[in-house]
Structure formats: structure tokens, C-alpha cells
């Protein structure tokens, strides 16, 4: 396609110009980041497309799979179903903020130890969700872990090992 054609289609008079971009300040993994984004940018797209935080995954983009789970003010949410602009001033934690390569979060270590994945695509969402679940403190039994993790799908079917990894951390004596 020639440059001329591209410019011509961009200048099509029937297409109204989009509303202006706005400045949104997000606090992610303890660091304040300023973004110039459109208001309809989801938190998920802001993380992945504007902040290079691609640990958070886009699965269904409709709140059905949980791959995009992050923690906002300590609570797990689906980042695909909220706008970045709605989370100004909130404290956002993604998988990148949970541990480092040399100092894994206990849940990250447990997922490795229990082989709690196959392809790994759902794993960041599973781990963020499990962190949120442990903070909530409602799930005590295996059955309750399964119920309270039901918002995170794993198409590889690694559920057995995911549950055992979480169970290990749940039952670890508190330091």
C-alpha cells in the first residue's frame, strides 16, 4: 500500500476524530507512571500496550477467563473489565510486582515446585488471583480453594497442581 493511500483513508471525512487523549497517572508495583491514553483504554491494555508490563495476559477480554487478573488496592479484579482512567490513585500490583527472578513470591515458587502449569499463559492470572484469595482468607479447604479460584480458567487443565500449589502456601506456617 502506498503512503498516499494510507493518508487518504485516514483523512476520510465520514470518520469523526476521536476525543483527545488524556493524562492518566497510575501507581503500578509501587511506581507512579504517567500515560497519555484515550478514556476507553482498559487497565489491561494500558499495562500491556503502554507500560510494557506484558506479564498480565489477555485471554478472552470479556471477564470470563481470569488471565488478566491483577490486584487493585490488594483486591483481585479482571483488568480487562475496568478502564485505566477509573483506577487513578489506586495501588495496582501485577505479576511483575510480586517477586523477582532470584526471590520468587511463595506462590510463584509453589507453582514451580508443583508443576502447576503447562503452557503458562493463565499462570500470572492464577497467581495474582491466588494472592488475592489468600488475603481474603475465606478459603480453607481444597473444595473451597477450587470454588474461590473458579474465576481462573486453565485450558491445559493443570487444575490439580494449581490447587496443590495454592494449598501448600495456604498451609505454610505464617512467618
Amino acid at each position: 500500500m502506498s503512503t498516499t493511500t494510507t493518508q487518504a483513508s485516514l483523512g476520510h471525512p465520514a470518520i469523526a476524530p476521536p476525543p483527545a487523549l488524556g493524562t492518566v497517572t497510575l501507581k503500578i508495583n509501587g511506581v507512579e507512571r504517567q500515560l497519555e491514553i484515550a478514556p476507553w483504554t482498559t487497565l489491561l491494555d494500558a499495562l500491556r500496550e503502554y507500560l510494557d508490563l506484558t506479564g498480565t495476559k489477555k485471554g478472552c477480554d470479556h471477564g470470563q477467563c481470569g488471565a488478566c487478573t491483577v490486584l487493585v488496592d490488594g483486591k483481585r479484579i479482571n483488568s480487562c473489565l475496568t478502564l485505566a482512567v477509573m483506577k487513578e490513585g489506586a495501588d495496582i500490583t501485577t505479576i511483575e510486582g510480586l517477586g523477582t527472578e532470584t526471590n520468587l513470591h511463595p506462590l510463584q515458587q509453589a507453582f514451580v515446585d508443583h508443576d502447576a502449569f503447562q503452557c503458562g499463559y493463565c499462570t500470572p492470572g492464577q497467581i495474582c488471583s491466588a494472592v488475592g484469595m489468600l488475603t481474603e482468607g475465606k478459603a480453607k479447604t481444597t473444595a473451597e480453594i477450587r470454588e474461590m479460584m473458579s474465576g481462573n480458567l486453565c485450558r491445559c487443565g493443570a487444575y490439580t497442581n494449581i490447587v496443590s500449589a495454592i494449598e501448600e502456601v495456604l498451609n505454610q506456617p505464617k512467618a
Partner: protein
């Protein structure tokens, strides 16, 4: 998503004025349903007014001694609230039966009331749907309608109301606190959602520029004998095919008071007060429950794929009433809701 502008409401009255002045405005709270609908091009707002900064998150005593649930309290905070668990465990069970923990952390009580149907034709902009595009026809009648309604349907729409929370609110006789440009008013829960009739595009009776600020639960005690029984295609994280909110007050084995509401079967939470009357004063026996169940589905109509729901609803009502009578469900006992 289509483009839209975004503003934050700083006061209820200002939000109402903004919406009254512009048809393109939609309120956003949790966003779990609205943003999905915008992505699907079913909703096309030109401006979102964010209600999340309004001071409506409290869960506190209501004037009559009941409990007032702020419209912006999340579903999770509501379900796990100590007073809800203790006094309104039916609501705790219903909320926990819906969605996922992540979604319940986002979704608000007010927003839950305004959830739209999950009818697949409503979501599919390539097909006719009277709810989405008035006058275009109903693809579910004569189409694939396994999840659709069997009660209160019309020739223009057989969609179902999707909420679990609302089924418990219907059974618990909740009322809504509403603010509009003409001031505040109270709406009885049963008068809020509506049947499709020939205007299926309207899910409820609120004016477009009104906003729900709180949900009041009356000072009544249905905390001992209750059940929220939700039947679905998988055990968790799925919408109801049929759900039943049942609550009883017993004097020995005699039913003093009864509440019965169904989800997954109609365009609104389906409370049946005639069936409740058949329960009152009767012994809490299977025979009594069967009579009430038969009354609920007396005028039910199947559309082919969903005809199984008529028998399913009957059996679910009997089972839920039995569970309620036996007092086998407990607050936050999240695994009894679909199992016993």
C-alpha cells in the same frame, strides 16, 4: 471499543443532571457488564459518568432496623458483611453463587440491579433482537433458546434476567432508594424490574435520569430457614438455568411465613406470592412444597430447547423448600448452594 469521553461524578444530584441533559451518557460503577457490552458494540455511549467517587459504599442500619446496602458497596463486601451473613444469609448465598471472586470484587450492588440479559442474540449484533434493536424481531423464539424464559414471556422477547443477587432481594422484600431530577423516592423491588411486554428494550421502570443510591433490606428474620439453590451447566462461574430463593419462618413444623423467588426463568426476578400463600399455615412437608411448585409453573410455557426448565423449576422449588425447612444451609457455606 467505540470512542467516548469520561467524567467523574462528584455528587448524586450532579450525576443525575448530567444524564438528564444528554442521551449519550451512561453511568459506570463496577463496569463488569457495561464495558463488556461496549466491547460487543451493544451499548454505544458517547460519555461515561463514573459514579465510583460518590459516597455510597456504606452498609449500615436502615431506619426501620433493617439493613441499608450502599449502591456502590461491592458484591463481595456485601456478601461477606457480618450483618449480611448473620441476618440475611440468603443474600450472602445468592451473591456468592454468582460470577467469580474477581467480578464480585468489582461489581457493585447498584450495578448488579442493572445487569442486562445474557441472551446470546442480544449480544450478537448480526441477529435481530427486540431488546437491542426495538422492532427488529426475536431470534430466540424459534431459534436456539435453551437458556431462555418460561414465565412472563411475550411475543417480542423471551430473555431472562441474569442476576443471582436480585433473586434473593426479591424474596427478601427489598426496597430501592432512588434519586432523580425531581428528588428522592422509594421503589419496591418487585416494581423495579419489568416483564418484556411489547417494550423489551426496557429492563426496569426507572426513568433514564434516575440513579439507585441504596438497597434496603427490611427488619425481618429469615436467617434460619433459607436456601439459594442454583442449577447450572457447571458447578461454578455460570449463569443459572433455574435458581430458587426460598425462605421460611416455621412454628414447629407449621409454615408461618414463606418467600419464594426464581431466577433464570423470566425477564425479571420471579417472585410468586400466590405460591407463598399456598405455603403459609401448612405443614412443612414435601406434599405442601409440591403444591406450591405446581402453582409456580402452572402458566409456564416452553419454547423447545428450554422446555426442560418447567420440570426442572418444579423439582428445584421442592428441593430448595426442603433445604430451607431442614435449615441445612449456612451463611458463607459456599459449597452447599448447589450440592445437597
Amino acid at each position: 471499543m467505540n470512542s467516548f469521553t469520561y467524567t467523574r461524578a462528584t455528587a448524586v444530584e450532579a450525576a443525575v443532571r448530567e444524564k438528564a441533559a444528554d442521551d449519550g451518557v451512561k453511568f459506570i460503577a463496577g463496569g463488569t457488564n457495561l464495558l463488556d457490552l461496549i466491547k460487543e458494540n451493544v451499548e454505544r455511549p458517547t460519555r461515561l459518568v463514573d459514579l465510583n467517587h460518590l459516597p455510597l459504599t456504606a452498609i449500615e442500619a436502615a431506619p426501620d432496623g433493617g439493613l441499608r446496602l450502599g449502591a456502590l458497596a461491592t458484591n463481595a463486601d456485601t456478601a461477606w458483611h457480618e450483618q449480611v451473613q448473620k441476618r440475611y444469609p440468603l443474600l450472602n448465598q445468592a451473591i456468592l453463587a454468582g460470577a467469580s471472586p474477581q467480578l464480585r470484587n468489582m461489581a457493585t450492588n447498584g450495578g448488579n440491579l442493572f445487569q442486562r440479559t445474557r441472551c446470546y442474540y442480544f449480544y450478537d449484533t448480526a441477529t435481530p433482537c427486540n431488546k437491542r434493536e426495538p422492532g427488529s424481531g426475536c431470534s430466540a423464539i424459534g431459534g436456539y433458546n435453551r437458556i431462555h424464559a418460561i414465565l412472563g414471556t411475550s411475543d417480542s422477547c423471551i430473555a431472562t434476567h441474569p442476576s443471582d443477587m436480585c433473586i434473593a432481594l426479591a424474596a427478601l422484600n427489598a426496597t430501592l432508594q432512588v434519586t432523580g431530577k425531581n428528588g428522592e423516592r422509594t421503589v419496591k423491588f418487585e416494581d423495579f424490574h419489568r416483564l418484556p411486554g411489547n417494550q423489551p428494550e426496557l429492563d426496569n421502570t426507572l426513568a433514564p435520569d434516575e440513579v439507585v443510591t441504596a438497597i434496603d433490606l427490611p427488619n425481618e428474620d429469615f436467617s434460619r430457614h433459607f436456601s439459594y439453590l442454583k442449577l447450572r451447566d457447571r458447578q461454578s462461574y455460570a449463569f443459572a438455568l433455574v435458581s430458587v430463593a426460598a425462605a421460611l419462618q416455621l412454628d414447629g413444623n407449621t409454615i408461618k411465613d414463606a418467600r419464594l423467588a426464581l431466577g433464570g426463568v423470566a425477564h425479571k426476578p420471579w417472585r410468586d406470592q400466590q405460591a407463598e400463600d399456598l405455603l403459609k399455615g401448612q405443614p412443612a412437608t414435601e406434599e405442601t412444597f409440591r403444591r406450591a411448585a405446581a402453582a409456580v409453573v402452572e402458566n409456564a410455557q416452553g419454547y423447545g430447547h428450554n422446555t426442560f426448565k418447567i420440570e426442572l423449576a418444579k423439582r428445584a422449588i421442592v428441593r430448595a423448600l426442603k433445604q430451607a425447612a431442614e435449615g441445612t444451609q449456612h451463611a458463607a457455606d459456599i459449597f452447599t448452594n448447589s450440592n445437597p
